[in-house]
Symmetry: C2
Subunit: 297 residues, 2 copies
Amino acid sequence: MKAVEDCTIGIVGLGLMGGAIATALRNCGAAPAERLLAYDTNEETLAQALSAGLIDEGFTESDGKPDIAETQGISGMLKRCDLVFLCLNPSTLIRFMETRMGNFKEGALIVDIAGTKGRICSVMEKTLRPDLDFIPGHPMAGAEKGGFANVGLVNFKGKNYILTPLRRNRPENLSFIKTLIRRMGFGRITETTPGEHDSKIAFTSQLCHVIAAALIDCENDREITRFGGGSFEDLTRIAMLNVPMWTEIFLENRDELMKRIEQFEGSLDKLKTLIREEAAGELAKRLTVVRDRRAGM
Amino acid sequence: MKAVEDCTIGIVGLGLMGGAIATALRNCGAAPAERLLAYDTNEETLAQALSAGLIDEGFTESDGKPDIAETQGISGMLKRCDLVFLCLNPSTLIRFMETRMGNFKEGALIVDIAGTKGRICSVMEKTLRPDLDFIPGHPMAGAEKGGFANVGLVNFKGKNYILTPLRRNRPENLSFIKTLIRRMGFGRITETTPGEHDSKIAFTSQLCHVIAAALIDCENDREITRFGGGSFEDLTRIAMLNVPMWTEIFLENRDELMKRIEQFEGSLDKLKTLIREEAAGELAKRLTVVRDRRAGM
């Protein structure tokens, strides 16, 4: 792989995360002028990103627009890119790779940012064009509101980044990507299996979103925030969720998420029983374990 | 009631909240030099607060210390105070009022900060000395770590303050306290009944703490934070709880808290069912309601 500054980089999907990645690539100097291309179905987003100097060229689908030249569409972009960031939901990503596999530049390196990894990794192990490399990953950053307009809310500084490498990944590409991830500002990089990723993320992310949604679901008083002291606000901030994305992620990772919901219900039930039975000593003992465990994390 | 600057103010219990109130009273000019007294069973805390200039005099229990003069003990302090902040847990507060009712200065105004209000209000309606006034309240502020050492983590600016006035409260005292609360930096003041307070707080505060504790309870992997992207951290920050205080508050407000836990379990179960049954359309519909409701709060 050549130096990243000499790569032509393509962002597929200029939403919240695609926009944040473009911003980080520019800010860290990895994508100098003329090197950063982006594809999105929303032409207005592309126009905004272009006029802000965030990207150098914008590409959009030619579907239904027969007058768009080949070079202006997604295939025109992909054939120029040495490095591609796929910033798409899991199912869109899989469809995109099926449809566009033939369009990538010879030897291109592809990375993704999808929040579930099992299916993507198994499909890519089987179907990736032999000359391409695809490194699955999950940057653990976001914002409570989605879309390109909210890119400014995303901060990569010190955040976690999970990689779930494929057996076929070339070591030099893995090392290239890790260097780039650090340069974009991320902190800890964890390499793990897609299975472990999906299990842990079902807990730290999806379960937390389900809990936040359930909390809001069970109280219809808009004035409830008069009684808020920070806890409720903290626990429900993420309830302002990107509905299509989270619906897909919950269902995509359904088996792991169901296990985690049931595990959580078990712990909640134990605490509820101690409270109902006024078992002060036992309750204090369990809360002490919790406090110490959280403090040690 | 005279101007607050001319009042001698006593803080009973110089823990996290007592210390934060002393700080706010000093910073807003309501408690000028010589006017702020504090009682605590921990002499080291008193010494720290004195040397920091946060309080003007410290008082401690004379129990087991027969050589402590009457004027150095709690009764010596109470007989000088026009305004007293009781910064104690509910049961300690009720015991304190039983024991010390005779020690308060004629006509003194007493306020408290306890997180449950039902029992305190009903006991005070019945037993308060006729010349005294007691305005029950709950400042919705705190920190994830307790104790005087963490006072710097508390910020009252713009926070909610709930008052659950007694029928006997004098209107001029209520108005005096509301002015002081605003001066200390709080935002919205809500007046409500003890019953509504305990029901809403069971939801916004106690349920949230139980959920945070249950989340930590069900995962023993200290390395789980490698998979954190903010949601898990937000939902479990409050799990580092002050164990004796929360054990007491959970049990004190047990009936309301049980109702709220069951309400939450119902909502969680509905979401779980939609996920298990892969009811994408219904799930998206419910998440949309949640998103809009939270955004409107």
